[in-house]
């Protein structure tokens, strides 16, 4: 063997390629996927296949509609223009000005479909029409009506949004801090716009449950090991300034069906990893990475309970000084396990919300002081 090691004796063991190979093959042979694991996996795969087939069918229907609909719409538009020009001598009469809401629905849904079909970026225009400045100079629309049109657009989601399918973001730990802090209605508006885009992309009609939206903090960048826990003085030493928003989405029956994660994204920052499942939305020239939290039923229920506990404006909007907040939610395992922290900095207590309780020896819904937490986790990790 080309890469054979010398058979020099090391202690009592002569290490060579064959021994390494033999050790691995023999010792790892006891690890086999159980029937249960295989079945579970195949069930999930089948669901995934059905989901993608369903999407493909919808997409092809929409492509067909687009193919047929576009010439029809163009013809109709020509007819309308001709009719307006001939009958009234102007295309800029108030009755011809498109209402912003209509423009939003039609334009965005059509563009999104085209984007989805072509797997390319697409632009979606909302609210104020791009034609407006041209109309201003050439048409006889009176100034008051023109200003009204702009105002309507600006009060609604006056956005240019791009949808890009990028390689994806998995690790919430790597998320950048949301340094472009926005609050109150502005924040709610941003979330609503993201949910609109998400609905259009996925052909869903989910509603943002804003009262349960929360800001989730992440651990210090490289994660937290046993040594880090031993050396820390309090929970605060383990928490980074990075984080993301969790947006619960309800179906028409009111049940929370999905939780989206959103964080701001600097495209120049190569340190952020994007996964296939993430989408980058550009809203008012700022980028946001949108993903879904891991979607097992168990995990979803747990996270919903957590969001109910954390339901307060402080959890949501404590962006500029999150470390001073008296309530925090911390992601400790890639969106699967969390701890809820309460109390003042330096003297917080933690309540675990773990998908798999056994992993750190902690009991869900039980309040731990820092000392109790350290003792339990270190004991568990040392075992």
């Amino acid at each position: 063997m080309a890469e054979s090691l010398d058979r020099k004796k090391k202690g009592n063991i002569a290490i060579d390629d064959d021994l390494i190979r033999d050790a691995l093959k023999t010792e790892l042979s006891s690890i086999k996927a159980s029937e249960d694991l295989i079945n579970k996996t195949l069930i999930r795969c089948r669901e995934e296949i059905e989901k993608s087939e369903h999407k493909r069918e919808n997409r092809s229907v929409m492509q067909w509609i687009l193919k047929l609909g576009t010439p029809l719409a163009a013809g109709a538009l020509v007819m309308v223009l001709l009719f307006n020009t001939n009958m009234f001598g102007s295309k800029g009469t108030p009755s011809a000005v498109p209402q912003p809401a209509e423009g939003k629905t039609l334009t965005s849904s059509m563009d999104k479909e085209a984007a989805g079909a072509a797997h390319q970026s697409a632009e979606q225009s909302y609210g104020a029409s791009a034609d407006a400045p041209a109309d201003k100079g050439t048409d006889s629309v009176n100034r008051t009506e023109y200003e009204e049109q702009i105002t309507l657009g600006a009060s609604g989601p006056l956005l240019t949004a791009e949808l890009k399918e990028e390689p994806a973001l998995r690790s919430s730990v790597n998320n950048e801090p949301n340094d472009n802090a926005v609050f109150g209605t502005e924040l709610q508006q941003l979330f609503n716009d993201i949910v609109d885009l998400y609905n259009q992309a996925n052909e869903t009609q989910l509603q943002l449950n804003y009262s349960l939206a929360a800001r989730i903090s992440c651990l210090v960048n490289d994660g937290v090991g046993l040594q880090d826990i031993r050396e820390a003085q309090s929970f605060d030493d383990l928490i980074s300034d990075s984080g993301y928003w969790a947006l619960p989405l309800s179906n028409p029956d009111g049940g929370i069906e999905k939780i989206l994660t959103v964080c701001s994204y600097d495209i120049k920052d190569t340190g952020i990893e994007i996964t296939d499942e993430d989408i980058i939305y550009t809203i008012e020239r700022k980028q946001y990475v949108v993903s879904e939290l891991p979607a097992s039923a168990e995990n979803l229920d747990l996270t919903i309970e957590l969001l109910h506990r954390g339901s307060s404006s402080e959890v949501l909007e404590g962006l500029t000084d999150i470390r001073e907040s008296t309530v925090m939610i911390v992601d400790i395992n890639d969106g699967k396990d969390f701890i809820f922290l309460s109390g003042s900095p330096g003297s917080r207590t933690a309540i675990p919300y773990l998908t798999r309780e056994s992993i750190f020896g902690l009991d869900n819904y039980t309040e731990y002081t820092w000392d109790e937490f350290v003792e339990t986790v270190t004991r568990s990790l040392e075992q």
Partner: protein, 166 residues
């Protein structure tokens, strides 16, 4: 496609589970990776062009998922080696016992290697992958694969023999 996925799970499932176990040192997390890997295989199946072997492609997905998992690192330090249980109905001779003891010492040393060396040792010696395939899976140059392999073996020598090497 369902049949094809079933075949892939049956053919490569154990390989995925084993590499995930070695990298993450946790049976439970490895099972999560197992499921996630084949879900991603389903999602990216249409994009697979056969540029690398099926095995390399699937192992590559599994390694990437393991790396994602390791970034949220409470689990990073969960060192579990009890999954490597040895069972045999045969009566062991002294020689067999000695051989087993050697293997276990070696496997324990492998499990204590830093992540980047552990995964490369597994890919090379367990999955029987060549330098080029490992380079594809880990997305690193072939030269780096070689130097890591060399370093990994040197570390194993040091750990087991207690003698400075490489």
């Amino acid at each position: 496609m369902t049949k094809e996925i079933t075949r892939l799970v049956e053919e490569y499932g154990n390989d995925v589970l084993r590499i995930a176990t070695v990298i993450l040192k946790s049976k439970e997390l490895a099972e999560d990776v197992f499921q996630e890997t084949f879900l991603r295989v389903v999602r990216s199946y249409s994009g697979y062009r056969g540029e690398s072997s099926e095995k390399t492609w699937i192992i590559s997905i599994a390694v990437n998922i393991c790396r994602d998992y390791m970034r949220s690192a409470w689990k990073k330090r969960v060192v579990v080696t009890d999954f490597l249980t040895y069972s045999s109905d045969d009566v062991d001779t002294e020689e067999m016992l000695e051989k087993r003891s050697e293997r276990q010492a070696l496997i324990n040393a492998i499990m204590k290697l830093p992540d980047k060396y552990r995964e490369i040792i597994h890919l090379h010696y367990y999955q029987d992958m060549g330098i080029n395939d490992i380079a594809k899976v880990l997305k690193i140059p072939g030269g780096t694969v070689k130097s890591r392999l060399f370093k990994a073996r040197a570390l194993l020598h040091d750990m087991i023999g207690g003698e400075a090497h490489g």
